[in-house]
Symmetry: C2
Subunit: 440 residues, 2 copies
Amino acid sequence: MAFNEQRRNDGQPLDGGVYAAVCAKADAAARAQAGLAQASTEVKDALLHAMADALSDHADRIAAANGEDMREAREAGMDEGKLDRLNFTVERIGACAEGVRHVSSLPDPIGQVVRGYTLPNGLRLTQVRVPLGVIGMIYEARPNVTVDVASLCLKSGNAAILRGGHEARRTNAATIEVIANALADHGFDPALVDSVDEFGRDGATAMMQARGHIDVLIPRGGAGLIRAVVTNSTVPVIETGSGNVHVYVDAGADLDMAIPIVVNAKTQRVGVCNAAEKLVVHRAVADAFLPMIAQALANHGVELRADEEAFDIISDAQIRGLRMSHAVREDWDTEYLDLTMGVKVVGSLQEAIDHINAHSTGHTESIVSRDYEAIESFTRRIDSAVVMVNASTRFTDGGVFGFGAELGISTQKLHARGPMGLQEMTSTKWIGYGSGQVRE
Amino acid sequence: MAFNEQRRNDGQPLDGGVYAAVCAKADAAARAQAGLAQASTEVKDALLHAMADALSDHADRIAAANGEDMREAREAGMDEGKLDRLNFTVERIGACAEGVRHVSSLPDPIGQVVRGYTLPNGLRLTQVRVPLGVIGMIYEARPNVTVDVASLCLKSGNAAILRGGHEARRTNAATIEVIANALADHGFDPALVDSVDEFGRDGATAMMQARGHIDVLIPRGGAGLIRAVVTNSTVPVIETGSGNVHVYVDAGADLDMAIPIVVNAKTQRVGVCNAAEKLVVHRAVADAFLPMIAQALANHGVELRADEEAFDIISDAQIRGLRMSHAVREDWDTEYLDLTMGVKVVGSLQEAIDHINAHSTGHTESIVSRDYEAIESFTRRIDSAVVMVNASTRFTDGGVFGFGAELGISTQKLHARGPMGLQEMTSTKWIGYGSGQVRE
């Protein structure tokens, strides 16, 4: 399906030359992918090992390109958190190469039979896993994503068209050159992993319009990036990432267990999508629990935004070093991504569930309870990709789930939900083996 | 995610009142769906039986409404094929009711454990099937789709927001009223199955923009409808339907088997997406096969559009009653949906595969051959939802596949590919059962 006119995010017509060039890259990737789709697991694994070796061998060159990106970003005033994510040292490149070797050790989903049966007329049906085709990835300035996505795509028989953050363009170009050489050395078409960074923002816009050329588009990054892709793309999108994550401490909770879970969920790593942003506490344990958790969170430098009831209980307890303010309506829908936590008291399990389902982004929620019925109700009624019971929300992660590197965490319900690994990068094909059957 | 401004297909701003009203219906459906998602299979099956009984009991009333739609459509000059699809007689309503009973007899996908395992830290993970949520369906004037979609949605725990063809609006309104009454009689919220027909085309446009309110949108109908939805929707779409379907007769084919397969694929039912549109024949058997199949197809009134080589072979054979013309470039990409068939001669299996992959809509292709290697290569390399071996393409059908009624046939790779039944109307949720685990 072709489109006569492409438009950019800002409503201006897109340069037709850029659109044509991006489609040409995607079509070359598709042709190369048709070959990769037929490659055996052995051949793909050997390719990944060669790619890992090449990344290690050329780590100096990639790190040098990254040094230039880092210098420019620092001069442009990039904040420390982003600088840290952009930084791609020889050591980090080595860890990425190790990740590629790990992906090669994972089971190959391609060719798996999902289901199969024989129809009454003797037609034998099997549904088998096949690659998705050409996967487009739009992400921010995190060079490790380039390597992770390339390795997951190649293992699952897919091609990758990449648009990384502008600030990482030299690093990504050097990385993709190393990968392309490894592909060519193994008799594969380097078009399997290609970048549209050379076209700047228009490259990303062209990807969004390249329906029929790119099979699926995965944005990975901040809420603004994801929203822009979701709004503008005619290519099917898998929405990832944003996490307004809740921990609910039930009337039946083991409060001694709840404290480390809440502290871990909030503070073990800040600024990630599976970190908790909200604490919801049942009124029956609020008087006992809130002062304890407020002290524990204050010890970790967490600032609280409390509803009126929680504010009063915690204020009365006079916690040392605590920063706390009254929550406003917007707090309940905010993903802070820093050392801030919203706190709310509820009168019932049902109120907790309703509040969470109304405000969650559908990523991960956790219940702390010893009450079987409460746990059953919470796990059944909470409408999120992952529901934890008596465990930290930080476990929602492809690596933790055993997927190897992950492509992102899907917060939509279509195709994939939760961490996306190799299996989520596949489609299926039905094959019907007959002996002359026709329909009556 | 809300959008500040909605636009119609024609680029004009959408009436904000219509958008708000459609979102309100979808939100009411979502609230009702949260309840249905908790209903046991027994309860849902009893509801479907009650719905089937109500359809039978009120068949007269629905048929009367359909009579008015039929009269108006006839006066407006609707063609016979469309009139036949619009026609919803007491007998057809009874058959639909029987279909609802059949859906109630199918296994319930909700709650199925897809996979599960225990992490090294003792966290026990299970991935279970859950409903998608609110399913939006945009379709043409075929009243049976209203019943099929409602029954499949309810069985799989989903709510349905329907936009049927304008020409069937009285029939659909009467049908939905009967379903709503059955829902209410069984203690369910009638908002579970609702229509936006009252808003005309703007209702469909509003559905396409109702991201965050409708979870997935499925267009079912002609290529124009599907293209409009795919282009304009910000709600995730499952693309269905169009079928430029090929039968390939290989050098190793049993020609006596090939004739009934080609004739059945082309003529058993015309105007459906799994009917064959193109015949591709290996040069090694072209002289022997083309005159035979041309005669067989001519006997069924099929007109041929042949490439030069096929044209010459068939012309030489002087087939009785055959209509044939030279194929033009557009033929290879055309879904005729009538008694027309394109015919092409290829010099190799690879040429056949390349031609099909270049021109197919990815629905269904069939190979006729006795050659193991040719079959292996064809089934692996053809990039379509269904690949048949020595069987008619007409078997690509949810009913034939054992899915009961079907929601359509997906020709995209994301989420569902091929016939969509109950399982394709589900998402999944991960549940992690812990005992205080936190991340190190």
